[in-house]
């Protein structure tokens, strides 16, 4: 290995570049396994200094509904990536078992559960928004939702707030 002497190298933390970069993540799923991609990417973006907005819609509403956010489930049914016989997934207790197993695996890699993860995202400067139509359909209002949700807004409001953002639909 050759060693060369260089003038002082200072990492470019891109402070000027990240300013103005925005990420919008639409969370539309309410299963335990599909809650995490959005949370992990939001957390990563915030750690890189990117302004991040999450919009919870349809089944994704479970992620921010107080009575459900700590109790998301994972099922083997319809998920061939478990590489288990599909018939097994329909047996009584299998969803509970699969959920328990996945929670343990998530915990073992040091990743928090959904409510704590949302708290970390908010503490990192992330913005949480709830979908107006989903709230109306499910007869839920602010009182039913996680406290840090900034508002129940329409799809058009969200598009407006995330003008110029890169967008992820999960």
């Amino acid at each position: 290995m050759t060693t060369q002497t260089a003038p002082s190298i200072v990492p470019d933390f891109g402070d000027s570049v990240s300013e103005g970069r925005k990420l919008a993540i639409i969370c539309s799923k309410g299963t335990l396994d599909m809650a995490y991609p959005g949370l992990i990417l939001a957390n990563a973006a915030l750690g890189e200094g990117v302004e991040t907005h999450l919009f919870f819609t349809f089944w994704g509403f479970d992620m921010i509904t107080k009575s459900r956010m700590g109790d998301l489930k994972f099922t083997m049914l319809g998920n061939t990536a478990t590489h288990m016989p599909q018939g097994l997934g329909g047996m009584p207790g299998m969803t509970a078992m699969a959920t328990h197993q996945m929670r343990k695996q998530i915990h073992d890699v040091g990743v928090p559960d959904v409510p704590e993860f949302l708290a970390q995202i908010v503490d990192s400067g992330g913005h949480l928004w709830a979908c107006r139509m989903s709230a109306d359909m499910m007869h839920l209002d602010e009182a039913d939702l996680y406290e840090a949700v900034e508002g129940i807004i329409s799809a058009a409001d969200f598009i407006e707030k995330t003008d110029g953002a890169q967008l992820l639909f999960i």
């Binding site: 060693t3 002497t5 002082s8 190298i9 933390f13 992990i40 200094g49 040091g110 990743v111 400067g125």
Partner: protein
Amino acid sequence: MTVTTIGSAQVHVDAEGFLTEYDEWNEDLAGQLAAQIGITLTDAHWKAIRFLREDYQAMGETATLRRVSTQAGMPIKELFQLFPGKPAKKMAYIAGLPKPVGCV
């Protein structure tokens, strides 16, 4: 492998400028590294940096932001205030460690 001069010290760094030799770091150097990225170290900064140094020695990898928060007992909000923008990378840089590889 590149050698660069920080203050009066010659240190090995990677292409981005992160120190590559754990033992070439010292507290004086940390102050100079911090100054290069516009940070003046306070006691709170030191708490995070000392944790990172010790944790790296114990675990063999740089702690993620969440690990610093939960293990050193420092709120995430505070870490963002102390090391604005990209806290995990800035902490690692000042602590003379590689960038963290963990996702969360």
